[in-house]
C-alpha cells in the first residue's frame, strides 16, 4: 500500500475582506503519496498559495483536517506547528525568501540554527546539500550577488537541509526562463528520487504540469484532479 504523506479532509478556508467573507478554499479533499511530485495549477487569486500555507502549517483551516506525515495539524499548538515547519515540511516562498545580507552558507544553515544543531554538524550538512545542488563553489558569496536561478537553488538548499518529508514550492519557476525552469524541475525530480520527498509545486504555467506525476487544478475554491485530463490531451 502506498504511503500517504499529506491528507486533506474537507478543508475550508475563508478570508475577511472588509465586511465581506471570501471563501478561498471549499471542501478540499486530496491525498499525496510519499515521493510524488504534484503540480497545482490555477488562475491568480484562486487560493494556490493559501493551500500551500495550510499544508505548511503557516495558517490554519476554518474547517477540515490536514494530516502531514502522521501529524494532525489541528491537534498542534503554535509551537507544535513551528516544529512541523522546521522538521517535517519546508515551504519555499514565491520570492525565495533569501536574505541578501547573508552568504549562501548563512542562508542555508538558518533552519538548523533554529533547530539548535551544533556548528560542526551545520557545516557538514550545508556542504552536503550545496554540493548536491551544485552551489558549493558559492558557499561564501553573499546571495545578492547571485543570479535568479542561483538564488532559487539557495532557497531549495535551505528547504532541503533538514531533509523534510514534504517540500512545498510556490511558483518556483515564475521568475526564471524556460530552460532554467526545466533545470529546477529536474532538480526537484532528483530530490524526489534521492530523498523520497513529496514535492508540491504551485504554478501558473500549465506546461510544467506535464512534468509532474499528478496535477490538480484549483478553480473557484475547488480542487480537481487534472492528471487524466492532461494525459488524454
Amino acid at each position: 500500500m502506498e504511503d500517504i504523506v499529506v491528507l486533506l479532509k474537507d478543508v475550508w478556508k475563508t478570508y475577511d475582506e472588509g465586511n465581506n467573507k471570501v471563501v478561498v478554499l471549499k471542501k478540499i479533499n486530496a491525498s499525496l503519496m510519499r515521493g510524488e511530485i504534484v503540480g497545482i495549477h490555477g488562475p491568480s487569486g484562486s487560493g494556490k498559495t493559501t493551500l500551500l500555507k495550510l499544508i505548511a502549517g503557516l495558517i490554519r483551516p476554518d474547517r477540515g483536517e490536514i494530516i502531514v506525515d502522521g501529524y494532525n495539524l489541528n491537534m498542534l499548538d503554535d509551537n507544535g506547528l513551528a516544529m512541523i515547519r522546521n522538521t517535517v515540511v519546508s515551504y519555499i516562498p514565491q520570492d525565495y525568501g533569501v536574505i541578501d545580507e547573508f552568504t549562501v552558507f548563512e542562508n542555508v544553515e538558518l533552519p538548523m540554527l533554529i533547530a539548535g544543531v551544533d556548528k560542526e554538524e551545520r557545516v557538514r550538512r550545508v556542504r552536503e546539500v550545496l554540493e548536491y545542488i551544485g552551489l558549493y563553489n558559492k558557499v561564501n558569496v553573499k546571495t545578492k550577488l547571485l543570479s535568479g536561478g542561483e538564488r532559487q537553488r539557495v532557497a531549495i538548499a535551505r528547504a532541503l537541509v533538514m531533509t523534510p518529508s514534504v517540500l512545498l514550492a510556490d511558483e518556483p519557476t515564475a521568475n526564471l526562463d524556460w530552460n532554467t525552469a526545466l533545470k529546477v524541475i529536474e532538480l526537484f525530480k532528483n530530490i524526489r528520487e534521492d530523498f523520497k520527498t513529496t514535492i508540491v509545486i504551485v504554478t501558473h504555467d500549465p506546461r510544467l504540469l506535464d512534468l509532474m506525476d499528478r496535477s490538480f487544478t484549483l478553480m473557484d475554491g475547488y480542487l480537481k484532479d487534472a492528471t487524466y485530463k492532461r494525459r488524454e490531451l
Binding site: A56, L58, D78, N79, A82, M83, I84, R85, N86, T87, S90, Y91, P93, G97, I99, D100, E101, F102, E106, L110, P111, L113, I114, A115, G116, R158
Partner: protein, 138 residues
C-alpha cells in the same frame, strides 16, 4: 530563545543597520561637540535621534520583515519572533539615545528626559506593532 537565533539577530542588525546607526550616533555626537554651549542642543540631538530611528525603521523594513518571515516559515517559535521584534526596537532606540544621554549627564533636565523616553517608547511600540503584523501577513 536559543543563542543561535540571537546570533542571526545580531548578524542582521549589525549588517543591516550597524553602519547607519553608527553614522547617526557620530553625527549626533558631533552636534553635541560643536554646539555644547547652546541651550537648544539637547532638543536638536533628541530630534535627530527621533528622525534617525524612524528613518532606520523605514529603510530596513524589508530586511527585518524578511528575516522575521523566514524565521517564522522555518520553524521559529512565535514567542521567539515576538521577542526579536521587541529586542530590535529596544536596541535601536538605546543606541540612538546614547548621544542624548551623554549630554543629559552634563545638564540634567527631567522634562527633556521624560519627553525623550516617551518619544522613544512610542517609536518602539510603533515598530513592534508594524513588525508583528508584517511577520504574519508578509
Amino acid at each position: 530563545m536559543g543563542s543561535n537565533i540571537l546570533m542571526i539577530f545580531v548578524k542582521v542588525v549589525t549588517r543591516g543597520s550597524g553602519l547607519k546607526v553608527s553614522a547617526i550616533v557620530s553625527i549626533n555626537l558631533l552636534v553635541i561637540l560643536l554646539f555644547r554651549n547652546n541651550a537648544l542642543t539637547p532638543y536638536l540631538t533628541m530630534l535627530l535621534s527621533m528622525v534617525a530611528s524612524a528613518a532606520i525603521i523605514i529603510i530596513d523594513f524589508r530586511l527585518h520583515s524578511l528575516l522575521l518571515y523566514v524565521l517564522h516559515v522555518y520553524g521559529s517559535r512565535p514567542n521567539t519572533v515576538r521577542i526579536l521584534i521587541s529586542l530590535y526596537s529596544l536596541l535601536i532606540a538605546s543606541i540612538l539615545s546614547l548621544p542624548y544621554l551623554a549630554i543629559d549627564l552634563m545638564s540634567f533636565s527631567s522634562a527633556l528626559t521624560s519627553t525623550f523616553l516617551i518619544a522613544l517608547s512610542t517609536l518602539s511600540l510603533i515598530y513592534k506593532n508594524v513588525r508583528g503584523g508584517t511577520s504574519i501577513t508578509f
